[in-house]
């Protein structure tokens, strides 16, 4: 399928030919760096799947990770909250710093880390519990048991995840009775409830229909005011629509990382251009 990327971008440069855009890009904005990855390798057993990834992810912006299947973008995003720890025989080398602290340093409290770094998965995974109990889960394990406080945060989280109006009358029915898009927003609300600083989203809309996808994308726009968001997506238009910066991965290497417009309109690498214009992948 040919990918058109000009739909939401103001210029009309044809994507197929390398557009001649005058070098007017503003100097890299000085937003603070939230996640700083340096020389990060990752291995499944002896197979090396990430090769020396180095990049800085800015605070309160949306960073999209794109690339063909198997390029390592999911492995990479799962390294940011150490979700890969649960895979036997897998390990990472190099550093991933959040606010200047290496999360792979010995003595890191992984449980505390994952509270700061929320995650939304490709396949929505609400617990087989009520909607309310899903949202309250993270709070309860964090020790909040006051009913009124819980009610408040549950409502706030559902409002932020743009789901409150749809479910406010049935908070205590099973989350599994909801539609796919609603289930995914339950998962987002659940992640927001514990008030993380970073939100990792691993293809959050890939299993959803276009309307549900639009809702999730609008949500991402709203959320970046408060959160640093990293999103893996297979959908190039989605990356173009929602992200401020885009990283292109290929065969476990970071090929190009720049602000989204540059990556799509004026990529430095031939490989990036071929990918974003749909010539392969």
């Amino acid at each position: 399928m040919t990918t058109t990327i000009d739909m939401d971008l103001p210029t009309t440069a044809p994507a197929a030919a390398p557009p001649v855009v005058p070098d007017t890009k503003p100097p890299a904005q000085e937003t603070p760096v939230k996640i700083h990855v340096r020389g990060f390798d990752f291995y499944y057993g002896t197979t090396k799947v990430l090769h020396g990834i180095t990049l800085k992810i800015p605070e309160r912006q949306v960073t999209a990770l794109i690339g063909p299947s198997g390029c390592g973008k999911s492995t990479f995003i799962r390294s940011i909250n150490r979700m890969n720890d649960i895979i036997p025989d897998a390990h990472g080398e190099g550093t991933v710093e959040i606010d200047g602290r290496d999360i792979y340093a010995t003595g890191t409290d992984v449980v505390a880390l994952r509270r700061r770094v929320g995650m939304v998965f490709q396949k929505s995974n609400p617990f087989p519990k009520s909607i309310y109990d899903n949202i309250a889960y993270g709070l309860r394990i964090g020790g909040m048991h006051n009913r009124r406080e819980l009610d408040e945060v549950v409502e706030k989280s559902l409002v932020r995840a743009a789901l409150w109006d749809e479910v406010k009358d049935r908070l205590h029915s099973s989350a599994l009775a909801l539609s796919g898009g609603q289930q995914q927003r339950v998962c987002i609300a659940r992640a927001l409830a514990v008030d993380p600083e970073i939100l990792l989203m691993d293809e959050p809309a890939s299993a959803l229909d276009p309307i549900a996808t639009t809702k999730i994308e609008e949500l991402i726009w709203d959320l970046k005011v408060n959160y640093t968001i990293v999103i893996v997506t297979h959908n190039m238009q989605q990356a173009a629509r929602v992200s401020d910066r885009t990283a292109f991965f290929m065969l476990g290497r970071l090929v190009e990382y720049s602000d989204t417009r540059t990556v799509f309109m004026n990529p430095r690498e031939k490989m990036t251009e071929d990918y974003v214009t749909g010539r392969f992948g």
Partner: protein
């Protein structure tokens, strides 16, 4: 002959073979039920459920004590085997990988294959001999040992079926591993685990060999767990071996009741699962 019609004929033959196999498998079950029922029907009356056995030579009497005894024995067995077995199963499913877990799994499989009479002798050795008395506890202990590996392996298998996504979802919210297991994974697998437990109970409810020298038997009404206690299987065994027609009829009735208890447990297991799943799923 065209290819399509040949394919249809082969398909029909395969279908009929499957149907035949189903019928063959069902015949023994139906025959057992029918046979047991026709022979025991005359002895199945109210007395059978409410009276204790009459002395030799007197007609009548029932198996009330054995019915209650069997229930007490399987309760003791469940109380011993279910907690231990579930914890073991959780360990195997969630903390596998170490050498210890593979030893535990292997031990459970071996225990599963130990003949029930051997389990009975073992229980005799460690529970009966020290106090020099047959008891319901000893019988329950022997049955519990038989249940244990089934509970362990069912728990393990069902926990493994819980989608990885739920596990990751809980961990991503800052749950520790044990927290995730207790609050998300075990509840998600619980309907299936309960079925497994009921099936294990149904299996040991029909055991006789482990009871021969543990709970022994008791012709009188007794609910004391430190005393010998009657059980349906043992009572059937004694009556079936007797020279009295009345007793043999009662043995058939007892056998029928046993089959019904096991059938009821299996059906209960299915219903329980359906209810729990309705809560779990839309």
């Amino acid at each position: 002959m065209s290819n399509a019609s040949r394919r249809k004929i082969i398909s029909k033959i395969a279908e009929s073979l499957c149907a035949l196999a189903v019928v063959l498998a069902l015949i023994p079950l139906v025959m057992i039920l029918f046979y047991v029922l026709t022979h025991g029907l005359t002895a199945l009356n109210l007395d059978f459920f409410t009276h204790t056995p009459k002395p030799v030579g007197e007609a009548g009497g029932g198996m009330a004590n054995a019915i209650v005894g069997t229930l007490i024995l399987i309760s003791i067995a469940s109380l011993l085997a279910v907690p231990v077995g579930m914890v073991c199963g959780i360990h195997l499913a969630e903390y596998s990988g170490s050498k210890f877990t593979s030893i535990v799994r292997f031990a459970a499989d071996v225990l599963n294959g130990v003949p029930s009479i051997v389990i009975g002798i073992f229980a005799y050795g460690i529970v009966v001999l020290p106090v020099k008395r047959f008891s319901a506890i000893a019988g329950g202990f022997a049955l519990g040992l038989l249940m244990l590996p089934v509970v362990v392996r069912t728990t393990e298998e069902l926990l493994r079926l819980v989608p990885q996504g739920l596990r990751e979802g809980a961990l991503a919210l800052g749950a520790s591993r044990s927290r995730a297991v207790l609050t998300v994974i075990v509840p998600a697998a619980l309907p299936g685990i309960l079925t497994g437990i009921l099936v294990a109970i149904a299996r040991v409810a029909g055991e006789t060999a482990p009871l021969l020298f543990t709970s022994f038997n008791n012709p009188y009404w007794s609910t004391k767990i430190t005393q010998p206690i009657a059980s349906l299987t043992y009572q059937v065994y004694v009556y079936a071996n007797s020279p009295y027609d009345d007793w043999r009829r009662q043995a058939w009735a007892g056998a029928f009741l046993l089959v019904m208890i096991i059938l009821t447990l299996s059906i209960a297991a299915r219903l329980a699962v359906r209810r729990l799943e309705r809560m779990n799923r839309p």
